[in-house]
Structures are given as C-alpha cells and as structure tokens.
Symmetry: C2
C-alpha cells in the first residue's frame, strides 16, 4: 500500500491521489487501510514519504560505496535516476518533489516529511564527499547544489519527455566534484589541475 | 482570472485547484469563465502557464539586460526568486514546476505548455550567455544546468521553509558562469584564472 501510494504521489501528487485509487491499485483490503492508517490519506502519504526516503537513501548509499570517486558515484546516480524516469515513460520520478510542490503549503506533517527526506539525502551526500576528501564547507554546498540540480532535472525531463537535463546535470556535477576533490584544501577557489 | 489561476497552480498544483476557487479568489463572474475559456479548467491552466512564461520571460530579460556580467544577472535573478518565495511564506514559487510534476503525465496540453515555458527561458539564458561571450555549447549546457538548479532550489526551499538552497545555487552558478566567461574559447576545460 505504501509503495502504491508513493508511485501515485510521484506521478500526480497528493491531491489527485484518492484512497479508492490506492486500494484499487494495491489490491489491499479497505479494512487494513483504516486499521494501519487511522489518520487516512495524510498519514498514508507521510509514511510513504518516509519509506521513499529510506529506499532512495539506500540507493544513494549503495552508489557512494560502489564507486571509488564521488564524481563517478554522482554521475552514476543521476544517470540511473534519468533512466528510471525514461523507462516509466516520464511519469515516475520522486514523490517527495511532487508532494513538496503540491502539498507543503497545505499540510505541515507532509512538509516536515519532505524536509526530512531532503535533509537525510543531503547528509548522505555531504558525508560521502567529506569521506572522499572534500573540505566540509565545500561538501555541504555541493550536496545542496547536487540535490537541487537533480530534482530540477526531474522537472525539466518530465516537461520535455527526454533525459537531456539529467545528462547535463550529471556532467556538470561530476566536473564540480572532480575539481573539489583535487583542489588544495586551504585555497577557496584554487586553480583546477585537471 | 489568469493571474489567480497561476497563483493557485504554483501553491497547490492543478488537481487541487477548482474553478469555484478561481472564481471566488479572482472575483470574476462565472459567465466570463465559460465565455473566455470554453475548454474549462485545462484551458485556463494552459493559458495561465503561457501568461507565466511570458511574465517570467520579461523578468529574465530585464535582469540580463540590467547587468553587465551574466554571472551578476543570474545571481540577482536567483536571489530575487528566493525573496519572492520567502515573502509569500514559502507557498508561491513557479506554477510551471508544480504543474509539470502533478499534471504532465495526465494532460498533454499542460505538458506541452510546461515544456514550452522551459524551452523559452532556456533560450533566453543561452542567448544571454552567448552575448556575454560564452561558447555556444557551454552557454547551452549552463542554461540547462541553471534552470534545473533553480527549479530544484524552489523544491528544497518550499520543503525546508528557508532560502538557503537559493543562496547556494546563486553562488555556484555565478562561479561557473564567471569561469566560463573568462575561459579561453578553444579549450574545453581550461584552467580557471580567477
């Protein structure tokens, strides 16, 4: 039920997603909905966002630990995200992005769940960059920049029905992280050596 | 009526926005809705997106022509966007972003209007960068990267209720554009000189 909810949220947001559609598409019995989620659709959405946060968090972790260089990890992650989107014919993507835009203004529990998702993923990226040798400030800002660019690439790709924005974002972020890994620690904007 | 529609779309998306709410908040008579927009809510949304495309396009134009250096223009635009968001208590932002995520999968006219918006703004940025001396390829990819990063900053800011992502994105984009303006034309990734 949570996975179905997450799929519907990413495709169409919170408002268009009804309990009946969640029950129909998940095949779950109505009784279990009210038993497990007495808070109704809002509670279901919040728990689906938490589940998504953990699931994408595991993917970020796997990608960071599966690559020696953080620029290669970010490139692989961004390309993989674009590929998932393309394979879904540009209807899926990220439930947190859609729900932030359509419901953060109306529901504080939903906004808090979206904020927690971005805080979690940001922390993972920042820690991965620091572990790879980036200065802490630079790791922090590149993690924010990467999250923003990737979620924005999702928007552009869903609008244009192509993954070009993911390709551009992957290349640009990889170049920035590459430069940051290799820049001398004390300099603020040292010359690139590659 | 179009401006009210755009405001509601950016705050809550297409699905949550009803004709009754548009009429109530705009104060327009019901008769004029059906006279001017016989296609109903979808037509109203598409025309509101076109109106937004032109309005934000004029703001991009003004910002580019108001600054000598494109990095200063982009920094000013991104900060201004964050400021608009902050002043609205993080409920407004960009109707194209919200509607792309909640409705591009369900309505081809809406998806096409969102795609046209991003194509228009991308072209303005690219042309502005080229006019400032960037190589055409670099201008093209930086325009895509900038659009993605800015729309992603909107998502992060609406989730966290702060404009930190806009500050980071403004700084990072300004540094990239600065480096691109000053890099020697033929080199693909020349050394930064600043």
């Amino acid at each position: 039920m949570l996975r179905t909810t997450a799929q519907l949220l990413q495709r169409q947001g919170f408002h268009a997603t009804g309990l009946k559609q969640i029950l129909d598409e998940s095949g779950a019995p109505r009784g279990s909905l009210y038993f497990h989620f007495p808070g109704g659709k809002e509670q279901l959405a919040v728990e689906a966002l938490h589940e998504t946060t953990a699931r994408i968090g595991r993917a970020i972790e796997r990608t960071l630990s599966g690559h020696k260089r953080p620029q290669d990890a970010v490139r692989a992650f961004v390309h993989g995200y674009g590929e998932v989107l393309r394979r879904s014919n540009f209807v899926e993507g990220c439930p947190v992005a859609t729900v932030t835009l359509d419901s953060a203004a109306a529901s504080e529990p939903i906004r808090a769940a979206c904020s927690a998702a971005y805080t979690h993923w940001h922390g993972q990226l920042r820690d991965g960059f620091v572990a790879a040798g980036l200065r802490s400030n630079r790791a922090d800002e590149l993690a924010t920049f990467a999250l923003a660019a990737v979620e924005g690439a999702l928007i552009l790709s869903r609008a244009h029905h192509d993954t070009h924005a993911f390709d551009v974002v992957a290349d640009q972020l990889a170049a920035l992280i590459h430069a940051a890994v290799d820049s001398p620690r004390p300099a603020r904007r040292g010359p690139r050596r590659h």
